[in-house]
Symmetry: C2
Subunit: 177 residues, 2 copies
């Protein structure tokens, strides 16, 4: 585990309070979050809030190591077996997608972890940042609680390039045991 990630977890605990084992793992693992939610909470589904293609602005181009103006898939989803447990935003450079993966991403509400598994895609995950966000009105409407949001960003790397940039966030009051 990178020291800066260990330090980020310590900082969160000193800022907002102790984290459960499940929370620490959800914030730092390089494994599939879908698989973890499946086993802790029951088979998860996703609800797609936004699914569209966009031209990368300079921020997104930098995140993904692509050129400004390149086509990216932008997706915002909620995950959970019933009520939402997690909110996720992803950016995928379209030129790095093969067609089968692209079809699954666009046509159906399938979590990315399950798409990677279905296509037997070999990859590695590189955790970028782990931090706390204040709860926005939008998140309050989604999760129906008042709580700081535990948040992380990471890259899924495939063929030596960033295939997916993901930001995941969930309330501190979830996954407490």
């Amino acid at each position: 585990m990178d020291q800066n990630i260990v330090d980020a977890i310590k900082k969160i605990e000193s800022d907002i309070g102790k984290l459960s084992s499940a929370q620490k793992i959800l914030l730092t693992t390089d494994g599939s979050i879908t698989a973890i939610l499946d086993i802790l909470k029951g088979h998860v589904h996703i609800e797609t809030l936004v699914q569209e293609f966009r031209e990368a602005d300079s921020d997104v181009a930098e995140l993904l190591s692509i050129d400004k103006g390149d086509n990216v898939n932008y997706r915002v989803i909620l995950m959970g077996p019933g009520e939402p447990l997690m909110h996720a935003v992803s950016y995928i450079p379209v030129k790095r997608l093969d067609n089968d993966f692209k079809d699954d991403l666009i046509k159906a509400d399938i979590p990315i972890g399950r798409i990677l598994k279905k296509h037997s895609i070999e990859s590695r995950r590189e955790i970028k940042k782990v931090y706390v966000e204040d709860m926005s009105d939008e998140m309050h409407d989604i999760f129906k609680v008042n709580s700081p949001m535990l948040t992380r960003t990471y890259n899924i790397i495939h063929n030596g390039e960033i295939l997916i940039w993901i930001k995941e966030t969930f309330p501190y009051s979830f996954f407490r045991d």
Copy 2:
């Protein structure tokens, strides 16, 4: 998550009792166990009990999809920041190892998850079995508790082939919170 793994977790809970979230994740995740132990328990080290090259017998050949008599690396280790938390056995077909990976595997006590990360190896993990074993005298001497052992086997797949077969086991009395 494969249904047979979900069912295996349910069977364990009905046989020996409720599992904690951390135990369920440790038994089913496709992420690095080293990274999880690092964040839950502090930076882990390994103690190598056995490290040797062997000819594959027919059972090992079948596990790894190689020919009987092929050269394999056999390693038995304990992992933990201090007292051992987990016992792991691994088989690696030598012909699928590149030299840098092989050097790290042989020369130093580095957990496999950390070797994969160091060399930026893209892979996927395929969980094979999750089950309970009775505690052997050897495990009792290592872990100093009386407890059933939570156990799993999985493959790390790289370039479409099994790079590593791993069996991990830890006492049910560990990772309870």
